[in-house]
């Protein structure tokens, strides 16, 4: 291309020397107008004539070339626009897929939760993990490569074109008009000296990612091209890595474009007005494109993000290319244009990028209409291959047991506090009746008091560490059992040393390094001759029940000088007691479980055993039928027992019959707790998990893996807070955990 002027000049000069009647001109242009003109006078070849002819031809060729060039540029602009469009659609699709994946994930979680709550088992639905979004796709780097190259060639080409035209004699005005036209078509401009400053500026902002200054910038320019700038804001969010270069390129063009716009404004008021109108119109078009809900084409366009189908809005796009005139949107994906206009969108995206695993909230404004507003669009999107499975079976899934949904989904417990300060297994724990305070008893000979409001920032943000505010020391040897009085003023602990220690509860705001106050230990109950394994306190009776490996169950009335007011099972007629509890609806009665498998209801006044709920089991297998824990329902005459053989059994206190029996865990069930309202049961097991059960349906509503194993033991105790939404578990791994 560059040689042409020179070649033309050379061709012009030798021609006269040849001198002979050259037929080539006539042959070369038999059908063209100049040719016809010449062929009318075939014999009159003069040097000036030939020269004129050649010049004429040259000019014509150049005209044609220029025309082609323009056409080519137009086509390239269209290609670029369509590519931009495609990219936009792809972004849109990516965004939608991502949202759908989030929804899918949430749904799966919901399902799993529901299933767990309902059946007590993990729902096996394949791997369930957060959908990972790689925002960088290899495709991205390919697509913009074209436009970038073509931009360079355009600039060169334009430069050349200008040269040609000047040589041919095109006046500057014509040239200006033409170049104006070309520019307006391409939305590009030739290199202008002062453009670099602003470009650099913007480049800096884009690279630095300083969105606030960008926004500021955007506001400054809003009058002229706020929308374009907003789009850039969005682009900044959406692009990274290799993309960035291209974006800058585009931005550069965009800035130049703006300047042109300004020029237009100065030069031609009318044109400027027209431009603004155009801009608005175009943007409206894009709005329509994005938000169209009935538009089948729009839906299709979205789903065909792979770029193979272009027939969608072709005519529309054609129209828009014309309209686009002065708006450089060729590289800006229209799909993201209108979402970018809502200011919240930007922050949404930033949030999404900062923590990619975080569920992304729906952007406000038009974006929302994709999913919330339009069933049609949603369905067409969901029709995508990898998402096909999530819509339809929804209904069937949810329909089979709607009524219990409300109940089952009421609460999911999550680990919140980790109580680490014990040196050995935590055997028991109990909550304060009102305050967010609990006491733990450990095999390290101590009890510790914890205030959940005094937390220490933990290493991992998921749960908080709590440090104990008080350490109770009196037991010589492991502490095995613990109970807090119902008014929260005292607590009692039983140890392997056969003693029961009676403690005054220190204030929840006690300074952990305050001087020792001996009055915290209110008293010691001596009476048992072996390890004290179970304690229960009744607020209404102001009395304490204990059971010991010495075979006895004892009733204590703390304030009295001789606190032991009753002894049961003195002759070990039922075996060794393992656990005791006051009966919730009748504190004059108590229930005790035994190593033999017996559960006996005692009348505390008469010291008589009223009822035997469970008979001794065959003792040929060691620990067969061994009961680890017995609790009484707080309001109903129901007794619940946890068995070494993985069962939980429910008994009717009136008839003594077994109401329900279930294999509740994978290993020995060690602990039980009933929530204060009597709706849920919690069980802990040496299988390392705690489970929550709906007492009504006897279904597991949640399972939490809470503790590690030490030897063959894992979880020793579980507890509900009597008045607050806390549950806790104590484990052999020397930890206690609180869930909210």
């Amino acid at each position: 291309m560059e040689d042409h002027p020179a070649v033309a000049g050379m061709a012009a000069s030798p021609r006269p020397q040849v001198g002979g009647p050259g037929q080539s001109p006539a042959q070369g242009v038999p059908s063209s107008e100049p040719g016809c003109e010449l062929s009318a006078r075939p014999m009159q070849y003069t040097i000036p004539g030939i020269l004129h002819y050649i010049q004429h031809e040259w000019a014509r060729f150049e005209m044609e070339r220029a025309h082609w060039e323009v056409e080519r540029a137009e086509l390239q602009a269209r290609i670029a626009f369509l590519q931009g469009e495609r990219k936009g659609q792809e972004n849109l699709k990516k965004d939608l897929v991502r949202r759908i994946k989030m929804l899918e994930y949430a749904l799966k979680q919901e399902r799993a939760k529901y299933h767990k709550l309902k059946y007590g088992t993990e729902l096996n639905q394949g791997e369930m993990k957060m959908p990972a979004f790689d925002s960088e796709e290899p495709k991205d780097s390919e697509i913009p490569a074209g436009p970038q190259n073509s931009q360079l060639t355009w600039k060169q080409g334009r430069q050349l074109l200008r040269q040609y035209l000047q040589e041919v004699g095109y006046t500057d005005t014509i040239l200006d008009v033409r170049s104006q036209r070309v520019r307006s078509l391409l939305g590009l401009s030739g290199p202008e000296p002062n453009g670099s400053v602003e470009t650099k500026n913007l480049e800096q902002i884009l690279n630095g990612g300083d969105s606030s200054s960008l926004k500021q910038k955007g506001q400054e320019n809003k009058r002229n091209s706020g929308d374009v700038l907003d789009t850039f804001n969005f682009l900044e969010d959406d692009s990274d890595g290799e993309d960035e270069g291209d974006i800058i390129e585009e931005v550069t063009d965009g800035k130049d474009k703006q300047r042109i716009n300004k020029k237009h404004k100065i030069g031609n008021e009318g044109l400027a007005a027209e431009l603004t109108e155009d801009t608005e119109a175009v943007l409206k078009e894009f709005d329509f494109l994005v938000t169209a809900e009935d538009g089948e084409g729009a839906g299709e366009a979205r789903s065909s993000g792979d770029g193979t189908e272009w027939g969608v809005n072709r005519t529309k796009l054609h129209d828009m290319i014309a309209d686009l005139g002065d708006e450089d949107l060729s590289h800006i994906p229209p799909g993201i244009l209108s979402p970018a206009r809502s200011p919240t969108r930007i922050t949404d995206h930033e949030g999404g990028r900062a923590e990619e695993a975080e569920p992304i909230s729906f952007p406000s404004g038009s974006g929302k209409s994709f999913i919330m507003g339009s069933e049609d669009v949603l369905e067409s999107v969901l029709g995508l291959g990898d998402l096909a499975d999530l819509t339809v079976n929804n209904d069937s899934d949810y329909s089979y047991d709607m009524p219990s949904n409300k109940d089952a989904f009421r609460k999911t417990w999550n680990p919140k506090y980790t109580l680490r300060s014990h040196f050995d297994g935590v055997r028991a724990l109990a909550f304060h009746p009102v305050e967010p305070v609990l006491v733990t008893a450990s095999e390290d000979h101590t009890l510790k008091l914890w205030n959940l409001q005094k937390t220490v920032p933990a290493k991992k943000s998921a749960s908080l560490d709590v440090e104990p505010i008080y350490t109770f020391r009196a037991h010589i040897g492991p502490v095995l059992s613990l109970v807090v009085s119902s008014n929260g003023e005292h607590c009692y602990s039983g140890g392997l040393d056969a003693t029961i220690q009676w403690w005054k509860m220190p204030s929840p705001n006690v300074d952990p390094y305050d001087t020792y106050d001996p009055s915290v230990l209110a008293g010691t109950f001596v009476g048992h001759t072996d390890a004290v394994w179970g304690l229960s306190h009744s607020g209404t009776r102001e009395s304490l029940l204990s059971c010991s490996a010495d075979g006895t169950v004892r009733l204590w009335s703390p304030p009295e000088s001789k606190p032991c007011v009753g002894t049961y099972n003195g002759n070990k007629e039922h075996g060794i007691p393992t656990s005791v509890d006051f009966i919730g609806c009748d504190p004059a009665h108590a229930v005790a479980s035994f190593t033999s498998g017996c559960i006996v209801v005692y009348d505390l006044e008469t010291s008589q055993s009223l009822l035997q709920l469970s008979s001794p089991t065959d003792s040929s297998v060691p620990f067969n039928g061994h009961i680890n824990k017995v609790v009484s329902h707080p309001t109903l005459p129901v007794t619940i027992a946890a068995y070494e053989d993985r069962h939980i059994k429910f008994f009717d206190n009136k008839s003594g019959k077994t109401i329900h029996s279930m294999v509740a865990h994978l290993d020995a069930v060690t602990s039980l707790a009933v929530d204060p309202n009597g709706i849920y049961l919690m069980s802990g097991s040496h299988d390392c998990s705690i489970r929550l059960w709906n007492l009504d349906s006897k279904t597991c509503v949640q399972e939490i893996t809470a503790h590690r194993k030490k030897l063959d033991e894992s979880i020793y105790d579980v507890a509900f807070h009597p008045s607050k939404a806390f549950i806790a578990s104590a484990g052999a791994d020397a930890l206690a955990k609180v869930f909210v």
Binding site: R420, S421, H422, F423, D424, D444, H445, T446, V456, A458, K459, D465, E467, P468, T471, R473, A474, H475, I476, G477, P478, L480, L496, D497, A498, Y513, T515, Y516, D530, A531, W533, G534, A549, D550, I576, P577, T578, S579, F594, T595, F623, H626, N628, K629, E644, D645, R646, L666, D667, A668, H686, R708, K709, K710, L711, D712, E713, A732, D733, A734
Partner: protein, 193 residues
Amino acid sequence: MVMAEGTAVLRRNRPGTKAQDFYNWPDESFEEMDSTLAVQQYIQQNIRTDCSNIDRILEPPEGQDEGVWKYEHLRQFCLELNGLAVKLQCPAIDYTRHTLDGAACLLNSNKYFPSRFVQLFIFHYLVNRTFFFGSFEKQGNYFNTGIILLNETFLCHRFTKFVMKYNLMSKDNLIVPLLDEEVQNSSARESEA
């Protein structure tokens, strides 16, 4: 699992277990301990078996990371000192309690001991604190009780040997009552090495 193993011993202290049967089961080799708290289990098992056999207690199993080993031992010291603090009603009770409480918090803090891995600096700090606790005992009025208790469980011997073995403190700083032979033994060992 329980049933499948059949005759396998389940090492559990079930409710109702008598004090004499507490932790009373056949020893398990360190290799068989598959739980994550195996080191603690192993140390406690050796102490229960024969708390006077200090060399065995302090001898780490093959391939055991020394940091974890030391850390677990220190936990065990603090655990046993808990029991001691109960019996001591000496004037240093506050100091004793606070030292133990502080040590407990520190040793259990996953900030300083992520995954129970010992950071040397804190370790030394703790050793010194624990050691001073011992020295307080000595000076207290209930010195004799303290020594008797310490001798009962061989805690003092174990602590001395432990500190010597891992060179956690210089000998001069050890005010904890030492048996002369121990010092000699350890110096002999050191000179051999």
